[in-house]
């Protein structure tokens, strides 16, 4: 029997957390949550989730970006798949740095509102044992 995968949702919107939490639980995931970046980082260090869903605009409108840097700074979380879920691009059109350009150390960016089927499919893909990881995707695309 395969052990259930754990997903950590870091988002300050309790409605979003509840809805997405139920969605993932119904798909067989164990869900744990945090309502801000600081709490999310602490949870990530202790829970060691198989996948992190990360909001950007929380107390600060760029909080998720900073949290992601902190997550990547923890050796045990360096390759943990992270899906950044945010409406920052639509809310702030002046911010036009594409998440596909390699600057964001996430595995995937999904704009809010999310499409449930897409989230389930991507969660399954990123937590599958065959997933090669972000580092492979990053080659040649990162400014660093």
């Amino acid at each position: 029997m395969t052990e259930a995968k754990t997903v950590l949702i870091i988002d300050d919107d309790p409605d979003f957390v509840r809805a997405v939490g139920h969605l993932l639980q119904s798909a067989g995931y164990v869900v744990t949550t945090a309502s801000n970046g600081r709490e999310g980082l602490a949870q990530a260090k202790t829970v060691r989730p198989d996948l992190i869903l990360l909001d950007v605009m929380m107390e600060d409108r760029t909080e998720g970006f900073f949290t992601l840097e902190q997550i990547r700074d923890v050796p045990a979380l360096r390759t943990t798949p992270v899906i950044v879920i945010s409406s920052i691009y639509s809310d702030h059109p002046v911010f036009r740095v594409s998440p596909e350009s390699g600057w964001l150390p996430a595995d995937l960016f999904l704009p809010k509102p999310i499409e449930p089927g897409r989230l389930i499919a991507e969660s399954a893909r990123l937590t599958a044992s065959e997933y090669a990881g972000r580092l492979v995707m990053e080659k040649g695309s990162d400014v660093r």
């Binding site: 409108r61 760029t62 911010f95």
Partner: protein, 343 residues
């Protein structure tokens, strides 16, 4: 030099893309002061800080670093890779950048370039920001209140926006990557920059005369001031630790218990420490505290001028706040000049 501007309200978005150029460090509040550290969020960054406890030199000359390891079977292995970790220092004041430029002269442009320092300097982006001087700043007197090199970007407050001076191609990459967050400044922006620059220059409250100081120090070699300072100095080295341009270091080998492997370690040192000039055989060339504090002043205000054409002090005022004995560099210079009586 390319110049652009960014609205202050969008600086958080700009800072979000900076980690693409390295680990981001910025001034954040810690306890009763400020330090350069990794911020957990944009609101944790304090861009209006007066000065940090330690200068940014810690990112280039760490308080303690392993230079290489050695093993009886495998030989030597340099540890330069650790120094290649990209980093972005956000929000440095001009005098601290000037301090780095001074360290460059010693560690990068001198006869013997230090590969560890040079590697860190190459892999570190520096973004400066202007500030309002307080009563401890005397950077203007040290000609370190404005920099035209040593940074990738420099932000100057012009009201609702920051005027951004681009100092390097890496800085230009940052601008390009940020897309439309930055734009061309107008003539009115330039005029505001000039107005505020003059205003800031005039805002310094602490003045020190430097012109003939090296000669006066030469004349005051046997001054009673040094004895008085020696009596007050605790030789704690705090002034050295917080100085942006102090670079004395100690080197020692740490050998494993089996004595077959180890590492060479470089740590910060201070010319004020009692053992600083202690050599094999037990001779100590600077036994007295008076001689040690005197030579610290002579190195910064006289020896460095002779060697590099300017004092190595940048007027940040950190040593004034750090000294538990209340020794104040500005007062010392005035005492030497005879402008203030020795206590």
């Amino acid at each position: 030099m390319k110049i652009c501007k960014i609205p202050k309200k969008d600086l958080d978005l700009f800072a979000s893309v900076l980690p693409a150029f390295g680990k981001l460090y910025a001034p954040v509040s810690r306890g009763s002061g400020y330090v350069f550290d990794q911020p957990l969020s944009w609101s944790e960054i304090s861009l209006g800080y007066p000065r940090t406890l330690l200068p940014p030199r810690k990112f280039f000359l760490p308080p303690r670093e392993a230079l290489f390891s050695f093993d009886a079977r495998e030989g030597y292995r340099d540890l330069l890779a650790e120094a290649s970790e990209p980093q972005v220092l956000f929000g440095l004041h001009a005098y601290d950048i000037y301090g780095l430029n001074i360290l460059d002269r010693v560690f990068a442009q001198g006869r013997y370039a230090d590969p560890y320092y040079v590697t860190r300097r190459q892999h570190t982006a520096v973004i400066g920001i202007d500030f309002d001087p307080d009563e401890q700043h005397f950077a203007r007197a040290m000609n370190a209140d404005f920099v035209d090199s040593g940074f990738d970007l420099f932000l100057s407050d012009i009201g609702p926006d920051y005027l951004v001076r681009v100092g390097t191609s890496r800085g230009d990459d940052m601008v390009v990557m940020s897309g439309c967050l930055l734009s061309e400044p107008t003539q009115a922006d330039i005029a505001e920059f000039k107005r505020r620059s003059s205003e800031r220059h005039a805002a310094y409250r602490t003045e020190v005369e430097l012109g003939d100081l090296p000669e006066i120090l030469e004349m005051e070699y046997h001054s009673a001031v040094w004895k008085e300072l020696g009596d007050r100095c605790l030789s704690c080295g705090s002034c050295s630790m917080v100085c942006p341009t102090c670079y004395c270091f100690d080197v020692a080998d740490e050998v494993d218990l089996g004595t077959r492997a180890g590492r060479r370690i470089r740590t910060w040192d201070s010319c004020l420490f009692k053992a600083h000039a202690l050599v094999a055989g037990g001779e100590n060339f600077r036994k007295s505290r008076a001689s040690r504090i005197m030579f610290r002043f002579y190195h910064k205000q006289r020896g460095f001028v002779a060697e590099y054409g300017r004092p190595s002090c940048v007027g940040c005022g950190r040593c004034i706040g750090a000294c538990p004995a209340g020794i104040d560099i500005v007062s010392v210079i005035r005492m030497i000049r005879g402008q203030v009586d020795a206590h």
